[in-house]
Amino acid sequence: MRTQRIDQAAARLGAETRAAVYDGAKIGHEKRTKLLFDHYADPNRLRELAGEIKQHVVENLDTYLPAVEARLVANGVKVHWASTAEAACEAVHAILRARGATKLVKAKTMVSEEIELEGYLRERGIESLETDLGEFIVQLDHDRPSHIIKPIIHKNRRQIAELFERNGLGAYNDEPQVITQRARQFLRHKYLGADAGLTGANFMVAESGRLVVVTNEGNSRFCLAATRCHIALVGIEKILPRDRDLALFLNLLARSGTAQQLSVYNEFILGPRAPGQPDGPEEMHVVFVDNGRTNVLASSCREILRCIRCGACLNVCPVYRQAGGHAYRSVYPGPVGAVLSPLLLGRRFPEKADLPKASSLCGACNEVCPVNIPIPDLLLRLRDRAHTERVPSPGTPPMGAWSILASQPAAWKVALFGGRFLDHFPRSLVPVPALRAWESSRDLPKWRGGEFRRWLKLRRKRPGAGQSSPGITP
């Protein structure tokens, strides 16, 4: 029996990894909730407001993009545009080549993962080194990040200690303090020897051209203190209208992402370093990256472009907690990834059309989203699209028989009566492969078919009698 690729990946996940992901995600979610509700009487109002602001930006990108470009140019920043991943890699490479740069230090940027910059530059003789601790470990291990803000949520300290030992970063020691100190010592000399620093952008303010980079480790700051050239990869949807909106978004980002009142480092960059400042870039470049975003903008799911990449929907998602990030085969895992990743593919949407189905539509992702993205609605729209485009869906039981039953009351009644025999029949023998596959990792509850009909009948006979439903629990 074939199942969908995401189900196969989830089934292969080791117990150790599953536990690491589950615990990490759960803790992140619980701390977030406590902090938001301790600090604000009505945090939902903030989420809704932030969602309205980002929706406004998304629906007015045609005016915001040229406006922010003009500001950047006026601030002394060189602006580049890249419609594809390849074009974005080329743009970065061209900037480096013009400076004769061969060593790049990178702060965490999801866009660079999207465009697979590291491999592109490596093939052209340029070393690019991840400096975020988690991303550094991922790079060392030739692995992939499995969470937007906690890239190594799937690894434990033992695995990291072994990795460091294999790579000559000291004898085996799995104390997180020692691991961190070793990375600190190794990386600081790399920053100082690098020719350029690459960052993403958490926000880009239209009215001022201010680029905002948020970290806890201070790695992006080190990139911008040690090197002479700053390159920022910026998704075209990263814009906020005004500086004053930053207070709202920075408050929400830190609380939603890492359950902090404020992230440790919030850096606001208008251009190259000030005259008189000895450290930092003398040259600054912004590369605006499309790479499928305009497909998303043209789709019925453009709300997903509000996303500020906080990871809260991953932490709360029951599917992510069980499946882990790699199961999504995408840079963006979890609920946001289930919407964004297939859409970013444009015409190649069918390759990831299984992702929107990996959801119970419980709605938790929407409830925690700092920009109030209606993720369950978007998942349904994408399921509909997959159905309309006739994308094959392995593992989905044939629905033809069900639709006959559901449209004919008499047949339905017979089926309800017959269903109770399922309780006395070993389900491993039921000749429906989809049911067997489903049962391999789940337990079917005892048959209760027909209870609603009995309740309704009773209620019609004696109005008021059906106020509490017999045996029907929500």
Binding site: H39, Y40, T180, R221, F222, V264, D290
Partner: protein
């Protein structure tokens, strides 16, 4: 590249053309983003100290206390903003070796760095650094301990004020406590790339 610009902008226009109405920018009161505790906040200086300690930062009462604190932990080699050093050196004994230029080739030689802070935020315990007042970005970042010397009148009440004060400096950074990570099993570790110890010293 010029082609990419046109291509992206035309695709954006094409994607938005079918919209009959565009979402409007909502108006809102900036006070909405103030946390609950702000409503009955007392003395900003006391609040700043509480918030900075909450993120494992420290406040030095005066220059003598700062020197004592550094000495007690065995941090005697450091960097200091040349403009600040004349006012501080009297409090630092002969055991200190303080340089007023940050030599990046000897990055590991500096145990502490003292630079000017452009401001601070009471709500969050945040120290604000700006290019115009920071003598060396590296000097404030690479040593294990960073001391920000901040004028009392530059203490701001909350983040909305801090955003309003961003101004036109090409680089402003808010630092809220020491550099940290929880990448390894969610365990909090301080001093990843930046300072493991963040100290604020207020002056008149």
């Amino acid at each position: 590249m010029a082609d990419d610009r046109e291509e992206i902008l035309s695709r954006v226009r094409g994607a938005l053309a079918p919209l009959k109405e565009r979402a409007r920018m909502p108006e809102y009161d900036g006070g909405l983003v103030l946390a609950r505790s702000r409503r009955d906040a007392g003395d900003p200086m006391a609040e700043f100290a509480v918030r900075l300690r909450a993120v494992n930062g420290e406040v030095a009462a005066d220059a003598a206390a700062l020197a004592a604190l550094l000495r007690a932990r065995g941090w005697t080699r450091g960097y200091c903003d040349p403009a600040l050093w004349p006012g501080l050196r009297a409090h630092f004994g002969p055991e200190f070796r303080v340089e007023t230029a940050f030599d990046r080739t000897r990055v590991d030689d500096f145990q502490f760095g003292i630079t000017r802070g452009a401001g601070a935020v009471a709500e969050t315990g945040t120290i604000i650094l700006a290019d115009a007042t920071t003598s060396s970005r590296l000097g404030a970042l690479a040593p294990w301990a960073h001391v920000a010397v901040i004028s009392r009148r530059d203490l701001l009440s909350d983040l909305t004020q801090a955003v309003a004060a961003l101004g036109s400096d090409p680089n402003v950074i808010w630092c809220t406590g020491p550099s940290k990570t929880a990448d390894v099993e969610g365990i909090l570790i301080e001093g990843v790339h930046g300072p493991g110890v963040q100290i604020a010293l207020f002056v008149d």
